[in-house]
């Protein structure tokens, strides 16, 4: 018996898990808008000086 018989199915399973996570993210709309979030994170209340 070689470790190959276990390692390979595990590798495929890991890839499957990643894929599953991605599909979940896409379905919940996290990839719908890629323009606004990068701007949203710029707005941090603490770092903006109040005049």
């Amino acid at each position: 018996m070689s470790v190959m018989w276990i390692a390979l199915p595990v590798a495929v399973l890991l890839a499957g898990a990643g894929l599953f996570a991605f599909i979940r993210m896409a379905r919940t709309g996290q990839y719908d808008d890629l323009d606004t979030p990068p701007l949203r994170m710029l707005a941090d209340d603490e770092t903006i000086p109040t005049k």
């Binding site: 190959m4 495929v12 890839a15 719908d32 323009d35 949203r40 903006i48 005049k51």
Partner: protein
């Protein structure tokens, strides 16, 4: 323009525009240019959100000027239950969700402020901005806050908002996008894993591999490969099948042949336990093609989204009345109208639904539906259609069909279907595809026959390998990508192209038909000079205040300063298409064409100076409008539409490129000929007084000679001609119907976008040809290797991604749509050259001393805004 000019003014605390001197309060710390800005400032500060200004300052940006018109508009119509039901969705817990289209939203400070909305308005639970598409999604509690309050608050902040239309279509597209993304992810994961297994197998070729492992890896790649083909790869089979059923060949046909042959051969060889397998290349192919198609899809969407944005901004309310003649009881959104209800339509408003006139008579401009640009008389009992504009007097309607059932809505649906059908064509690559099918099939047959003579057992295998390696995957990826990148860049430069076939059609010179008004001219009537008594001009302006006709507006713009009080409305009579008469300050005044004045029994030739003016105006292709007081003519306005400053140079450039330029217009033939002469267009190809039907026929006649016709126009009456042309181009501020019928929409005015577009088309087609040659070279090399029996899955696995990457590089580097030149500078040049060339400056102009100060102030303000 310059900093010194700006510094001379006190900036408004909200929008940073200069505050008019009269509004500066020396005792206050902050100054405001209008009450709207003050409201916005107070609101933002009272919520502790003054960081907004610091933020804007850091971005070197400033808030949009707040909308002070909110004081007059309550927007209560949006609280109507029918509207709530149609445009909001249930968000659970008694909350409703709505998507709004918001104007003026452009940077991170806007995102920040708008997403702080729950802090401003009690009852708003969440607010989320989607910058691309200018959308704001709000969840709110209808028990606590009304939709009208929400919209009013947004407007008072300087972000006028409208409920988005076609939300369901947008949502459907979003779901479609997600499915696409998921397919890419699956194909990518499978391709990467298969590649990993293949590397083991390829390694085994060189250093040896135990048969049991070899079989294990082969089975693993086969299983994943088949999943990839029947899962994400299914889209290609569907598309190829659809194309075959339509008795045509698209590029998906040879691609699917390769996928199918490779899949079957690989499966058979896996079961047999020996022979070549191509699952790694096939999975990569599916992955690359899906990515290419996704990018193409997204870029194309830029264009359609922009057009939809425009559509969302059109007003959508109706004045509901209880019975004919009753006062207006409430404003309702047009979609809430029911057949049998009564609505009032005021002059200048568009008709909200199909209906019958039950009270009043008027002139109706139904050009949006019929293409007839002149207003038509509509009497009691006549049916009118939604979308038409009521021109002259108020009418009451009984609604016969509303919302999606109206004739206009059905027309729009037809146009939308037409656009969809057309956008699918990528003719160039489809033509190439048929050659590819023939070529690969021939190569496979020749290979099979040749190898039958050498080694019967491997003949089939070699033929299959030939089909796989000569698959036009690189071309299938590159051509659409070049097109879509060009379209995406175009959309950002203000040129919305609806389909890739447009770029192909514009890449070589053809017949170009321009509608005069609005494309080569500014599209707006202006009084270029006035001859006669100033008091007559003042009387004319007073009378014309009651009309919305373009001529009337031009006269009011010109001479409105001279007269402040409008005459009482009952004294005016508007004769459609020719003129207006009425009593002003007890005097009988008539304003209209020479023929109209003549028909009133007034002699137009008494004053030789004015008579000469009429003749010279006609000679210069201007429209003379006479003012008669009591029984004599006292003044002549000369009206004209100015030529765009960039037009002559642009036309010249296009002509040198080989375009055959024609000019069509509904205007007087003399005007059109004169314009053509100034532009360097052959006057024989400049036709005047062309009706919408004749425009349509003209285009069709040229198209029937198998010539490509590009038509550019802006009026609703151009819609039919635009649809009939090979490529229809709608320009800025064009009517809705015209934009829908066109293949291209320019968000910028003038002819510069047309030059940019033809240039980009040429470059895009060159890039497509380069990719074609590169792809052919690759196929010939791979094909020859296969033919002599040298091909191996390993070589295919290396050549395939390599060729795809080459294509990507070529596609990305195609220089389409170079950056636009600086707008404000050109504006200054235009003004300078205009004053030198046009009759405006040369003509005598009445002095308007009272308005001088304010006029110059406005000029400074607007240039300041562009700095």
């Amino acid at each position: 323009m310059t900093p010194s000019v700006r510094a001379a003014f006190t900036p408004c605390a909200h929008c940073s525009l200069p505050v008019p001197p009269g509004l500066i309060d020396p005792t206050a710390d902050q100054h405001f240019c209008c009450s709207g800005c003050k409201t916005a400032y107070d609101l933002i500060n009272s919520c502790g959100l003054s960081n907004y200004y610091a933020f804007m300052h850091r971005l070197n940006d400033r808030p949009a000027k707040a909308d002070s018109s909110i004081l007059t508009s309550t927007r209560e119509e949006f609280d109507h239950p029918a509207f709530m039901a149609q445009s909001t969705t249930d968000a659970g817990d008694g909350l409703r969700q709505i998507e709004l289209t918001v104007l003026n939203m452009h940077c991170s400070a806007c995102v920040w402020l708008l997403e702080k909305l729950p802090a401003f308005i009690k009852g708003v639970r969440t607010a989320q901005v989607r910058l691309h598409g200018s959308a704001l999604t709000i969840t709110f509690d209808p028990q606590i806050v009304k939709l009208s309050t929400l919209l009013r608050t947004l407007a008072s902040l300087g972000y006028p908002a409208h409920p988005a239309r076609e939300v369901s279509a947008a949502a459907a597209r979003r779901i479609n996008d997600r499915a696409h993304l998921i397919r890419i992810a699956i194909a990518g994961a499978l391709a990467a894993n298969i590649m990993m297994f293949s590397f083991v197998l390829y390694g085994g070729l060189f250093v040896g591999i135990e048969p049991v492992y070899e079989q294990f890896f082969r089975w693993l790649s086969a299983v994943l490969g088949i999943v990839c083909l029947v899962g994400p790869g299914m889209v290609f089979f569907r598309s190829a099948f659809a194309s075959l059923r339509a008795r045509s060949l698209n590029l998906d046909v040879p691609i699917c042949t390769a996928l199918l042959v490779g899949g079957i051969m690989g499966t058979v060889n896996t079961v047999l336990g020996s022979g070549e397998m191509y699952f790694d290349s096939l999975a990569m192919l599916v992955f690359f093609l899906l990515v290419g198609r996704f990018l193409q899809h997204r870029q194309q969407r830029w264009a359609t989204d922009e057009v939809e944005l425009l559509y969302s901004l059109t007003p959508s309310t109706a004045n509901l009345i209880d019975a004919p003649g009753a006062p207006v009881s409430t404003k309702v959104p047009t979609i809430a109208l029911q057949p049998g209800q009564f609505v009032r339509v005021l002059p200048g408003e568009s008709i909200p639904s199909d209906g019958l006139i039950v009270r009043g008579e008027t002139a109706i401009d139904s050009s949006i539906l019929t293409g007839e640009s002149r207003p038509v008389k509509a009497e009691l009992g006549a049916s009118v259609f939604a979308g038409a504009v009521n021109v002259s007097s108020p009418i009451d309607l009984r609604v016969t069909a509303a919302g999606r059932a109206t004739r206009a809505a059905r027309l729009m649906q037809l146009v939308a279907q037409g656009a969809q059908r057309r956008a699918r064509i990528i003719r160039f690559t489809d033509r190439v595809a048929s050659w590819f099918v023939v070529g690969t099939a021939l190569a496979a047959i020749v290979t099979f026959l040749a190898w039958m003579g050498i080694d019967k057992r491997t003949a089939l295998e070699h033929a299959s390998a030939m089909l796989i390696v000569t698959c036009p995957c690189a071309l299938g990826l590159a051509a659409p990508l070049v097109m879509s990148i060009a379209m995406g860049r175009g959309a950002r430069a203000g040129v919305m192209v609806k389909g890739p076939d447009v770029l192909e059609d514009l890449s070589t010179p053809a017949v170009l038909v321009l509608d005069k008004t609005g494309t080569v001219t500014e599209g707006r009537m202006r009084v270029t000079r006035f001859e006669g008594a100033l008091s007559a001009a003042a009387l004319a302006a007073q009378l014309e205040r009651q009309s919305t006709h373009p001529v009337a507006r031009a006269i009011v713009d010109f001479a409105g300063h001279l007269a402040d009080t409008p005459a009482s409305p009952s004294s005016a009579r508007h004769v459609i298409g020719s003129g207006i008469t009425g009593l002003v300050d007890g005097l009988f005044v008539a304003v209209g064409s020479p023929a109209f004045i003549h028909s009133l029994g007034i002699d137009t030739t008494t004053d030789p100076r004015l008579d000469h003016e009429i003749t010279s105006a006609l000679d210069q292709a201007l429209t003379p409008v006479l003012v008669a007081v009591e029984d004599s003519v006292l003044g002549v306005f000369s009206l004209g539409d100015r030529l765009r400053p960039e037009a002559p140079a642009a036309i010249n450039t296009l002509q040198r490129q080989g375009w055959d330029i024609r000019l069509l217009s509904g205007d007087d033939p003399a005007v059109v000929r004169q314009t053509a002469q100034r532009l360097g267009i052959d006057p024989r190809h400049a036709l005047g007084r062309v009706s919408p039907e004749e425009k349509f026929d003209y285009i069709r006649t040229i198209a029937a000679q198998n010539k490509r016709v590009v038509m550019m126009g802006d009026g609703v009456n151009d819609a039919a001609a635009l649809a009939a042309a090979t490529v229809g181009i709608a320009v800025h501020r064009g009517a809705e119907a015209c934009i829908s019928a066109a293949d291209v929409y320019f968000a910028r005015e003038g002819l510069d976008p047309l030059l940019a577009l033809t240039d980009a088309s040429r470059r895009a087609m060159t890039a497509v040809r380069v990719t074609l040659y590169a792809s052919l070279t690759y196929n010939i090399i791979a094909g020859s290797l296969t033919f002599i029996g040298l091909i191996h899955p390993l070589i295919a696995a290396i050549l395939m991604p390599l060729s795809s990457l080459t294509m990507l590089l070529i596609a990305m580097r195609a220089r389409t749509f170079a950056p636009v030149t600086n707008q404000p500078d050109t504006l200054i040049d235009e003004l300078a050259s205009d004053s030198a060339n046009t009759p405006i400056a040369a003509a005598p102009r009445p002095e308007l001393p009272s308005d001088r100060a304010i006029t110059s102030f406005t000029t400074v303000t607007t240039t300041g805004a562009q700095a």
